[in-house]
């Protein structure tokens, strides 16, 4: 009697173990990404619906951190694919030979602007995100803050302590702001501009979307962020305007590239293939107005109309090559704001 019970329990346990192992049999694909967390769930669901044998494991952090992590980990990295990370960063990874060149099926139909120029691209763009200001109408009225229309407006002392922007060392958005100012104004002028801007900044944030979220909550009335976040929050009912400063807008491409040292290249390639499909591009378009596959993009609600035209002629190669130097200088100048006081 007792023995048979034991056997039953053992059989049950074996069965459960077996089930667990079947679940384990899925390929775990480790994806390093900087895409906004709330979007990731949708991508995972859409991809895994058709690829049930692959389990996407997101390692999500801000662009700067993902980049630094990859640069430090090099060949030891746990990443199989870098996905949804600034092209500037992927260029740096390509430079140190971490990326595997691969042409995803259907890559030819993508807009060439979004692709690595090599015959077999090492990185493939997905969509572009564009700098913007988030301006809280309600708080602005309370504090008598005029609506800025240009970057230069932000130097007005009236904004002192009311601005918030992402730290370019950790945030991709922060870096594209800085690199675009340099491309618009020239490097020396840009530093001058930032010196002034620094006087008005309340805090620097870790992530690129946080300034807009803070603006939406009125914590700081004006956030230097990116257009998609502003549009999304406005659609949710936040009392903000999404402003495209008239001098021009920095932007970067979210792109993906397969890691050379990956042991799951087959799965990585399948994810890469999926990432250029129309289906994926439709999801990209949910937030971002500019996507790699032409003809897919639909206007995004509350997205600043003029933004498209204001996108600067971004020199990714220059940005990637100078990224380390610029960030070091930035850290020296503003990294310890409290020290200056």
């Amino acid at each position: 009697m007792k023995l048979s019970n034991c056997i039953k329990v053992l059989m049950g346990a074996t069965f459960m173990l077996g089930c667990a192992q079947m679940a384990e049999a899925k390929t775990k694909l480790t994806v390093y990404t900087a895409i906004e967390p709330e979007e990731l769930h949708g991508f995972k669901q859409a991809f895994e619906k058709e690829n049930s044998d692959i389990d996407l494991q997101w390692v999500r952090d801000s662009t700067g951190i993902i980049t630094a992590k990859l640069l430090a980990e090099k060949d030891n990295t746990k990443a199989d694919i870098v996905w949804g990370v600034a092209a500037t960063s992927l260029l740096m990874l390509k430079d140190i030979n971490m990326l595997e060149a691969y042409s995803p099926k259907g890559v030819d139909s993508l807009n060439k602007k979004f692709l690595d120029k090599d015959a077999t691209p090492s990185w493939v763009g997905q969509r572009a995100w564009v700098a913007s200001l988030c301006y809280n109408i309600y708080e602005a009225k309370k504090h008598n803050l005029p609506q800025p229309t240009s970057w230069a407006d932000l130097l007005d002392p009236v904004y002192k302590g009311h601005l918030v922007m992402p730290n370019p060392a950790s945030s991709g958005t922060g870096f594209l702001d800085v690199s675009s100012w340099m491309q618009i104004m020239g490097e020396d002028k840009a530093w001058e501009f930032m010196d002034g801007l620094h006087e008005n900044i309340g805090v620097y944030t870790h992530s690129g979307s946080k300034p807009c979220k803070m603006a939406a909550k009125g914590e700081f009335p004006i956030g230097i962020s990116f257009a998609y976040k502003g549009a999304q929050l406005k659609s949710k009912g936040a009392p903000i305007e999404v402003i495209a400063p008239k001098e021009g807008l920095g932007w970067d491409v979210e792109a993906f590239g397969i890691i050379k040292s990956s042991e799951n290249k087959e799965a990585a390639k399948r994810f890469a293939d999926w990432s250029v499909t129309k289906e994926a591009n439709v999801i990209y378009n949910k937030g971002y107005a500019v996507v790699a596959l032409d003809g897919v993009a639909q206007p995004v609600k509350n997205y600043p109309e003029e933004a498209m035209g204001l996108m600067i002629d971004n020199d990714f190669l220059w940005a990637a090559a100078n990224r380390t130097r610029i960030l070091k200088e930035w850290e020296t100048r503003y990294g310890t704001k409290s020290e200056a006081k």
């Binding site: 952090d61 430090a72 909550k217 990294g335």
Partner: protein
């Protein structure tokens, strides 16, 4: 000469062999257990710290650079500024919390004010929450859209103000416990003597109360300072651009992947912890010597004015604690602060707010449960072998010393040390990197000392001859452990289990460097959500942690009652 040496060598070896061959079955079990315990402690505590130590003298590619990293660190003004920032903020926190906790403890031990039990219970609230929680609450209270921001008179909460207030909340219960102990070990006879000699209450306070508690106060001050200077959650959330050591280490390691400088900051963070550890040890010895077996506990007499004032003070402190936790709870339910203050549960829908959804919460539950069970058993057996075995003195003292080390190692430093040690390509234990195992190991190691001391104290109170008696009765030692030591220590064991559970739920510092996407914890999720500006969901997750801790604590109260009911049969049996 040569022959002589060889002979002695042979002699030694033969006696050693002899001894080995004379070990009984039980001795061998004990020896294996002791070796196992000391090896795990070496791996979990000593080797990683050594790894960090050596890393601080290497560049990021692993080449020896001598003091190069230290020179680089000390020559960058920004980073060194963090040292002075850290020090003055921690000092201020220490003074404020120290005073508040002293008065609070004084009220609990030396007055007849009403509601002592409730005040005591309320004072432990902060322990149940991750240190990120007070910072998040403070944003809602004192931030630019804060409920009561006016009290800052235009000053920004982002920076030293926010850090200090948050720290006061987080550190308060820890040093309150030390203060209560210090104040409740005073000898009533001294007070009687002072009164008989005609000393007034003020004189008695300065000549009897303060000197009697001074060691406890010193110890509390150092603990407060160490906690303040090593905490990372509060400055991370509310520090703004005000840099401190703990956020530096995070920025250097996570933000810039600059492990060498991270190791340097880690070494610097070890200093206050080591000093406070040494002071604490020294002071503890004095404290026990001060209290003789003949001392009589002090029983306060009612005094209207004093009791009234103390009651008012304690109410204020308790209100502060409740406000912080209440604000977190409230903000997690508000739809869109500050524009749409209607209540909703949407922020608790973590699947919509975090790439890992609810998984981190369940990861935390798993980690806490496993840590509580496995950790408690491991620490119990460690304490048992140290305390109750007679042989293998060398290994036992080694284990005892190693058990004290984690007390002096801040969580962040331990976590970083784990990165260096376990992620090293040549390490055979590399496999546990990025798994739940490393999180559990680091958590157990991080909270080892207090648990070890609790269980050692409990075991010390058990008659040392039980082992001899059971051996004479032909019962193996493990039978006696199971039938006698374990049941007797059950209250202490359950305390340790709860301590480990709650701390595993709330800790951020050690695990922040060690989690992988599928082992992310609830506390890390709070950190990440706050990082991207999703403060309401962050507050919601923090509240999930608090509620879990409360639930477990409540369960613990009932379990303790059950244990007491069972043990009272033999504990207080009247003749």
């Amino acid at each position: 000469m040569n022959t002589a040496t060889t002979t002695t060598y042979h002699n030694h070896r033969s006696t050693f062999r002899q001894r080995l061959s004379h070990l009984g079955k039980e001795d061998i079990i004990m020896l294996i257990a002791l070796i196992g315990i000391s090896l795990s402690m070496l791996v979990a505590i000593i080797f990683p710290l050594f790894g960090m130590f050596s890393k601080s003298f290497q560049n990021n590619s692993g080449d020896w650079v001598g003091l190069g990293n230290f020179i680089e660190y000390f020559s960058s003004p920004g980073l060194v500024g963090s040292i002075s920032n850290s020090i003055w903020v921690s000092l201020l926190t220490t003074v404020i919390t120290g005073l508040a906790a002293f008065v609070y403890a004084y009220a609990l031990t030396r007055s007849c004010m009403p509601g002592k039990k409730i005040f005591r219970a309320l004072s432990s609230i902060p322990i149940l929450a991750p240190s990120l929680l007070p910072a998040i609450s403070l944003v809602y209270l004192l931030g630019n859209q804060g409920l009561i921001r006016e009290i800052l008179m235009g000053e920004s909460v982002y920076g030293p103000i926010g850090i200090v207030i948050g720290m006061c909340f987080y550190i308060f219960p820890h040093i309150l416990m030390i203060m209560i102990t210090a104040l409740s070990t005073s000898d009533a006879r001294l007070y009687e003597a002072a009164e008989v000699l005609g000393a007034g209450p003020v004189r008695i306070f300065f000549t009897v109360t303060l000197p009697g508690a001074r060691y406890g106060l010193i110890s509390a001050a150092f603990v407060a300072f160490t906690l303040a200077i090593t905490d990372f959650g509060i400055p991370k959330v509310i520090g703004g651009n005000f840099n401190v050591l703990a956020t530096d280490i995070y920025k250097q390691v996570v933000g810039q992947q600059n492990f060498s400088i991270g190791a340097v900051v880690g070494m610097i963070l070890l200093i206050p912890a080591l000093v406070s550890f040494a002071v604490d040890r020294h002071v503890r010895k004095k404290q026990t010597a001060q209290m003789s077996a003949r001392s009589e506990p002090y029983r306060p007499k009612p005094h209207k004015l004093r009791d009234g004032l103390l009651f008012a003070f304690c109410t204020m402190v308790a209100l502060f604690l409740l406000t912080i936790i209440g604000t977190a709870a409230f903000s997690s339910l508000v739809k869109f602060w500050p524009y749409e203050m209607s209540l909703t549960l949407q922020h608790y829908d973590f699947n919509a707010n975090d790439p890992n959804g609810w998984a981190p919460f369940f990861n935390s539950l798993t980690l806490s449960a496993v840590t509580a069970v496995v950790g408690t058993l491991m620490i119990f057996f460690g304490a048992y072998f140290v305390e109750k075995t007679k042989q293998f003195a060398l290994i036992r003292s080694l284990v005892q010393v190693m058990a004290m080390v984690p007390m002096a190692v801040p969580g962040m430093v331990l976590g970083l040390a784990y990165v260096f040690f376990f992620n090293a390509p040549g390490n055979p234990l590399n496999g546990i990197y990025g798994t739940m195992v490393i999180l559990g190991l680091s958590t157990i190691a991080h909270f080892y000392t207090v648990s070890h001391l609790t269980l050692t104290t409990a075991l010390k109170q058990i008659d040392g001859e039980f082992e001899a008696v059971s051996a004479s009765l032909k019962a193996p030692f493990y039978k006696t452990v199971a039938r006698v030591h374990f049941p007797i220590c059950l209250p202490a064991i359950s305390d340790v289990a709860i301590y480990l559970f709650v701390n595993s739920m709330t800790t951020v510092s050690a695990v922040v460097f060690l989690y992988a996407p599928d082992t992310k914890l609830a506390s890390i999720s709070v950190l990440n959500m706050d990082d991207v500006g999703d403060q309401a969901p962050a507050a919601a997750m923090a509240m999930m942690i608090v509620m879990t801790s409360i639930a477990v604590k409540t369960l613990h109260v009932f379990i303790t009652k059950g244990i007491n009911a069972r043990t009272s049969a033999w504990k207080n049996a009247s003749r």
